[in-house]
């Protein structure tokens, strides 16, 4: 069962003026007693646009050090709280959009009521059921944004296009799975 650890970041994306980061937990989530891999990413291998971090400090340092770049960041609710609890002032003005994924339903509801930092930048809060689909969609839009920067580098340009096509194919498959899981009365079929 693939998850965040299985994402293979393509360093070509680090050349773009915008980057997509993912900040996740390796420890057991604060309220969970179960296994740590809460979010299943069946398509982890094609999420090459995502630069994954499991360390908040490293992630923040990179963002600080590259203040000429803009960042989109997807992070766990625990990491969001950790970021917020940090006494340092949050100075990262180059974080454009924030997406949060939650490990538990209680935390999901709490995040929906979130009034802390980055509230205006939070563009979505997700549970494990929709997070992978959202990452696929966000990836498509992110690649579309940075693609013009690689117009002269045909090889990279083609690779990025292929990545976007793979993401769209995975989305297509996702919708097909949804169709296949529907029985005639609208309820979901179990295997």
């Amino acid at each position: 069962m693939a998850s965040f650890e299985d994402i293979e970041y393509d360093s070509n994306y680090s050349l773009a003026s915008r980057q997509f980061f993912l900040l996740y937990d390796t420890t057991i989530p604060s309220q969970c007693a179960g296994p740590s891999s809460v979010i299943v990413l069946n398509n982890a291998s094609i999420l090459k646009f995502i630069c994954p971090y499991n360390n908040l400090l490293c992630c923040r340092n990179y963002i600080h050090d590259h203040n000429q770049k803009m960042f989109t960041i997807a992070l766990s609710d625990d990491k969001m709280n950790e970021w917020n609890d940090d006494n340092n002032q949050i100075t990262e003005t180059n974080i454009r959009k924030v997406f949060i994924f939650c490990e538990t339903f209680s935390q999901y509801l709490a995040m929906k009521r979130w009034r802390g930092c980055y509230r205006r930048k939070i563009r979505g809060i997700y549970l494990s059921d929709t997070f992978e689909q959202k990452l696929l969609q966000l990836g498509v839009d992110y690649i579309r944004e940075i693609l013009p920067e690689f117009r002269r580098e045909r090889g990279t340009y083609r690779r990025l296009c292929t990545d976007a096509q793979n993401l769209l194919q995975a989305l297509n498959n996702y919708f097909q799975d949804q169709i296949d899981s529907l029985s005639d009365d609208g309820t979901e079929e179990t295997s």
Binding site: T104, C161, A164, D185, E188
Partner: protein, 778 residues
Amino acid sequence: MGNRPGSFIDKLKNRIYRKHSISKSSQSNITTENTSLETFLLVWLDPNIDTSKENIRTQKRLRKILTCLLTFNKVDECRRWLEKCYNEEKIILIVSGAYGQEIVPKIHDLSCIVSIYVYCLDVERNKIWSKDFRKIRGVESSTNVLLEELENHQNHLENIEDSRALRICQQNEPAHSIENRTASLVWYRLLLEILIQPNYLPTKGTYHEFIHILRQYSSNDEDGSNLIDEFEQTYEPTRAVSWLTRDTPLIRFVNKALREQDINILFPLRFLLVDIYTQLTKNQAPSLNVFRLQLMPKTQIEDLRSNPGRLIIVNGFLFATTNKSQLLSTIQNNEQFETVLFDIQADFRSGTVPFAYLQQFDSYNEQQIEREILFMCGSIFEVGSLRYENSIWRLQLRLTSENDVPVLSQMKQNLRETKNLNIISDLLKKINQEDKARIFAERIANEQLTTAVTSNSQQIKSIQIQSNFNELLTNENILFVLINLSTYFNESTSAVLKILCSIEPRIISIVDNETTTIDLSQCMRRELTIFTTVQFANTIKKYSEDFQFFILDTDNQNNQKYRYSTIDDLINRLVDCIIEKYRFEISKALKTQNQTKVKDYNQQINRIYRQLKQIHFNHDSFLSNTHQTTLIWLRSADKNDNLDIEPVNQSFRDYFPMNLHFFQESELREYLAADNHQTDLFLIISSDYQMDTLVDLRQYSNIKYTYYYGEMKDKNSEYKILSTRDDLCYQLTYDLLEYYGNLGEQYRINNQAKQARQMFSKAQRLCQILSENYFSSK
């Protein structure tokens, strides 16, 4: 045949109907004092009413004209019953010759008696005595003639009832000093607003409630029951108008409820009103000059003559025709009432009721010349000139927009913004309609209660309740126990528990009224998670490490771990515990490489999350079968976007069946204010407009996506400006993909598989378009 014991008619005959429950299905405890769902009652008195085969056959035929037929075979019994009738009841009496001569002198002057037919063998002899009684409309020996006369008479009476239901009032009145007649227009239009438009009432469908009422009412009538069967089996929203135009008891029920503004029946009729409104709106006719013949009492004519410029509100549906000459050829003399030709100028604009040609629907019958055009109920007309020409009155009317009635538009705006339904009860009280105000308040309370009760009692019922905790300890399947918490459950927590129990019925148990002291140290079983109150937790003698406790402690000021101050937080913890249990199972399945189990458990988790999100956020719970999207352009005044419009509209024609263009913000706002919010809007705004405009327009709930399109004027803007057509098309495609994905999800949650598949398929097509058009490396 007679009056079947226990039937509505039997109860009516025995006068025990007066406090019957209107609907069990809706769990309503509202009572109605309606005598009948129809305006007129038919009473037949004959010594051989139930013994003659011919009479039984005639009863069956009579019920096709009026479902509510009461039969008597004794004069005294019938007379006593008639004398007990209320003044407002309207009774048509059929009586045999011999009985007629005996009963008519005694009951003729009762105000409930509208007309009398003598149905006898010896016509000539009975005509002699009957000529002294003006309410006797005919003495007939032929059944066919009697039925034909009755049918015509009933249509005639219905027309008169229509005129009685016309309300005349002032047009320009301030809200603070609204006069009674105007208030009666306003409350009724506001009632129709909350019945027809979504977002006011919590319950969705009233179809089953209405069927239940019909079945109660028609239980005495075989044909009526067959008709209800047919209605139940064939009714579809797209055929609502067809049912309205067929000559069935249904139309008589609808007409009566609307004319009399009968709140108790109008609420269950909500589904039909919504469907007819939708059909008429979709088939809106252009501006028309139409005509209608209306019988009116002389006093009403005088009222209209002395008050030009006033408004008329038609409570019910209004039929009219464009063929004046043909309509005039159908005029019949009437001594009691004046015939008035309504000459209506109907221009459709914002705030008018919708109207449509009936030929658009499969119900159109060319023979019914007076039924060519149908106006939605509650139409308002401005009264023009009234003059007498060629033996009839001619009244000029102009279809009026509610925006032309300041007090109405102001109060409607207030209702839309505040959703305060008490506005209607207040208006009813103001016009001394205390009873209607009470019924309205009860009905609204009942609507809200129904939702809560349904989600509480029905949902809790499906949860396994154990008699006591010790019994439960022997059941190894049970992993989660809720002790003495039921009294704290609210609508939301009950709904959550229902979902959990429907997905995993074996692992959760609820124990109530548990008072025994528990010694858990003696218990041999493992793995039990207990959710309970702080009071019960304090009674437990010894804890065991194998048992995990989560406690409802409303005074949990120190935020102690495992203690929750609200029942919602506690039940959400239960959700997390169940998800954790699945995750443990997934870990175990992974170790044995059982991929099927992994998939199953993941599906269970996803299913729980999806359904819980629906409870908490209730996104777009109202989904029609024909979900509509419209692309709106707010264009630049100099039309510099001319070249882009057609190609964009053409590219997205499969996704936006309708495109609307506005050149002024005010026009767009007017459209949005009048829009019934059943269409999802994608809005493209020219960058010539201020950014504030875009931000402001986003407040409308049915505007799903907005695009700022054109030349980039403010480089520091935090909003994305789409400067090329290619960018605009990409963004539309991308957003449509998200939109249809979400819509598919919503339909799936609502168990609408067909629609869900359609939406997911559309999303798939959009994936292909994006892949081919925007990421082709060539």
